[in-house]
């Protein structure tokens, strides 16, 4: 092996390995982000299904907010009443990243919700080699099918 050839293999390997590592990093980044997004889709869908069948207690705004908290827990932990050791179904997902929006009929004199929207307000996926932000998605709307418990003034 002469001087020109010395280390040739090492340089070739370094150049090709760099490209390969970049490919693997990209594969991991997109693969992990897709995995997390799919988990988010399932979590939001399950939360929306749960919200659509839950009793809507409208005795006071506090009752409504308490109900929303339970729905957020369902999305984040897959459990409406998680214990202290519960882990989110999606890494780093927090209840305050979930939006619960009740839609009411514009006509008629009923105050029962017509449907419920559950969406991700903002969630950042940390895929080590890069981050992806999801705002307002995934989002699903389900019809409200649960029992309506009216406020005192509506009784």
């Amino acid at each position: 092996m002469n001087n020109n050839q010395r280390g040739h293999a090492m340089i070739e390997l370094a150049a090709c390995a760099g490209l390969m590592v970049a490919c693997l990093a990209g594969a991991f980044q997109f693969g992990y982000t897709f995995y997390v997004y799919n988990q988010l889709v399932s979590a939001v869908g399950n939360g929306a299904r749960y919200a659509s069948g839950r009793t809507y207690r409208a005795a006071s705004p506090k009752d409504v907010e308490r109900g929303n908290e339970v729905i957020r827990n369902m999305v984040v932990y897959g459990d409406p009443h998680p214990d202290a050791n519960s882990r989110p179904v999606v890494p780093d997902l927090k209840p305050d990243e979930i939006q619960v929006k009740w839609n009411f009929a514009t006509t008629g004199n009923t105050s029962a919700p017509e449907s419920v929207d559950i969406s991700i307000l903002h969630h950042q996926v940390n895929a080590i080699f890069g981050t992806f932000n999801f705002s307002g998605r995934p989002a699903f709307e389900f019809p409200y099918l649960g029992r309506y418990a009216p406020s005192e003034s509506e009784k």
Partner: protein, 156 residues
Amino acid sequence: MRVSKSERGFIVVAMSVAIVLLLACVGFAFDFGRIYIARNEAQIYTDSAALTAASRLDGTLDSVRKARAAVEHLPGSWNLGTQPFKGIVTEFSSDGMHWTETPEKAADSAGPWTYARVSAPSNDLGIIFLRAAGGPETFRVLAHSAARSDPARLVE
């Protein structure tokens, strides 16, 4: 280490082959990942749409019109939440077996129309990498759900 003339550049050749294979694997994973997510999104959307339609049904033709309008106005998107659903088909049935899009024209139009089925039949997902390996340009993501009324619940 001695490298003969015939062995020079072997790593470049070997790595080139490996990178092509690696890129193919990454491409498969990327496209199948998107297809899998789109299927999940479409299935949840049709579940919601079928329940929405069923919740409007009371057996009459008027409720069929309301159910159809409710599904048309139901928001929903797929392909990582970037595209709205198009070409949604809403069908109705009185027994959960014989379905029609136009109950108004059915022989037994009196109903009672108590079942609704929603299909998302035309969500064509553009394929990016598999195309290079001879795969299709698009992949059709299908989803359908059926629900019955009183109380509204999914049956399919």
